[in-house]
């Protein structure tokens, strides 16, 4: 099936099988490998992207469902001149990552969360990130990073 998805502002057309997952489309068709596959069962959040402006787990969306839609991945967060998105910078400044595997998904989930609730409290951030697992950090510095981006 011929589909067209705008990824980070760029239209990507491809002829895919209906069973193609959005995460495969992003990684294999668009060649953007910043979006990771962790659990592959919609539990870990490593594959989180923004679909039409809202965080979604791209391992659990069919590419055909996103046809005509707009996707943002971690590669689309920094400005063209390389300046990091404030959330990316906050993860760096707060040591919110160790191995980095969960980080793209964390950044996408956290930005979507603050988009909906710009002045989220620490508790709301912890609950709001419950769909994203991190094996390294113990979450504390991730929560600090996200809190530093809230409007208080």
């Amino acid at each position: 099936m011929e589909i067209s998805i705008t990824i980070n502002g760029q239209v990507v057309n491809a002829d895919v099988e209906p069973r193609t997952l959005l995460v495969q489309f992003i990684r294999d068709n668009a060649g953007l490998t910043g979006t990771n596959i962790g659990c592959d069962t919609s539990s870990c959040g490593a594959c989180s992207i923004h679909l039409d402006g809202e965080a979604a787990k791209s391992c659990t969306v069919l590419a055909v469902q996103a046809d005509g839609g707009s996707v943002t991945t971690i590669e689309g967060m920094a400005s063209a001149d390389g300046t990091l998105h404030p959330m990316q910078q906050a993860f760096m400044d707060n040591h919110g990552l160790q191995c980095g595997y969960c980080t793209p998904g964390m950044v996408m989930a956290a930005t979507s969360l603050l988009e909906e609730n710009p002045s989220a409290t620490e508790e709301e951030i912890r609950i709001g990130l419950e769909g994203n697992l991190c094996r390294c950090t113990g979450y504390h510095n991730i929560v600090q990073a996200v809190m530093s981006c809230t409007k208080s």
Binding site: R19, S42, E54, V61, A109, E116, E130, N132
Partner: protein, 274 residues
């Protein structure tokens, strides 16, 4: 993990979806948000040969104030239900229970209709709508019919929905200021309930339904009758597992589930009566 191959068609309206499913027969399935179906297909526990995508039937995504009840379109996403001012005002138990479904990413995609049609007794919304006395509106080739939540569920992942019928609307009676509580017991964030309780109370009227206490969501009618006849919360809650038929699994034995149902029902009634 990739699903087995299937044919994909998109429906623009409920009528089109129903005629497409009639055309494709038993091997076809509706696809709403895909957050129950796609994981099953990836594990190859489901292998429909045709998917009829109803995710773009946008005129079935709404919340309306309909006088004595609120009407929620079947394709309304969880995030739109939990944040709807109408749901928050007139059915706060539903708004709250919906905010406990999975995580934000799941609630951005999953729909209320998909959750109910999937008929998983471990899901939060079948029991919540059952406690609230909701009615489901279903459309088929021969028109629409209304099914009370109490007559909808037949067994594990099965309901009275015929293969060519589509759930289109959920009608939830207004709670009219009743107290309410939703208790969900699980071990890890984001998990399904090991046992859950959805309850409301308005004086001597009370409704209590249980999550994951049988192959279907369970209406704890004994608890309601005990409250109506003036029993204390403690005594009424002792009846919580009377209608249940729980299974043992990795998380809990039958006895533990029965115990949890009573404890959570007591807490729910205390909160709903406060």
């Amino acid at each position: 993990m990739i699903p087995a191959a299937f044919e994909y068609v998109r429906a623009g309206s409920a009528e089109e979806a129903i005629s497409l499913i009639a055309e494709h027969g038993d091997e076809a399935k509706f696809l709403a948000g895909g957050h129950s179906l796609v994981p099953l297909m990836k594990l190859r526990l489901a292998q429909p040969s045709v998917l009829i995508d109803i995710g773009r039937v946008s005129d079935l995504s709404y919340v309306k104030d309909a006088g004595d009840h609120i009407a929620v379109g079947a394709l309304t996403r969880h995030c739109d239900v939990e944040n709807s001012p109408i749901v928050m005002e007139h059915a706060p138990l539903l708004a709250h229970a919906t905010s406990h479904v999975g995580d934000p990413q799941v609630r951005h995609r999953g729909t209320i209709g998909g959750s109910l049609a999937h008929a998983d007794p471990a899901s939060d919304l079948p029991a919540t709508t059952l406690a609230l006395g909701a009615t489901y509106v279903v459309q088929g080739p021969n028109g629409t019919r209304e099914i009370p939540a109490g007559s909808f569920y037949e067994g594990y992942l099965t309901s009275v929905l015929a293969a060519d019928e589509m759930l289109t609307e959920i009608r939830v009676p207004k709670m009219n200021g009743a107290g309410w509580s939703f208790q969900k017991f699980n071990r890890r964030a984001q998990d399904w309930a090991i046992v859950g309780v959805a309850a409301w109370r308005n004086g001597s009227d009370a409704g209590v339904a249980l999550v994951n206490m049988a192959s279907v969501p369970v209406l704890a009618t004994s608890v309601g009758s005990a409250i109506a006849s003036g029993a204390s919360i403690e005594d009424a809650a002792e009846q919580a597992a009377a209608e249940a038929d729980p299974q043992a699994d990795l998380n809990a034995s039958v006895e533990y589930r029965q115990h949890l149902a009573c404890v959570l029902t007591r807490r729910a009634l205390e909160e709903a009566s406060a």
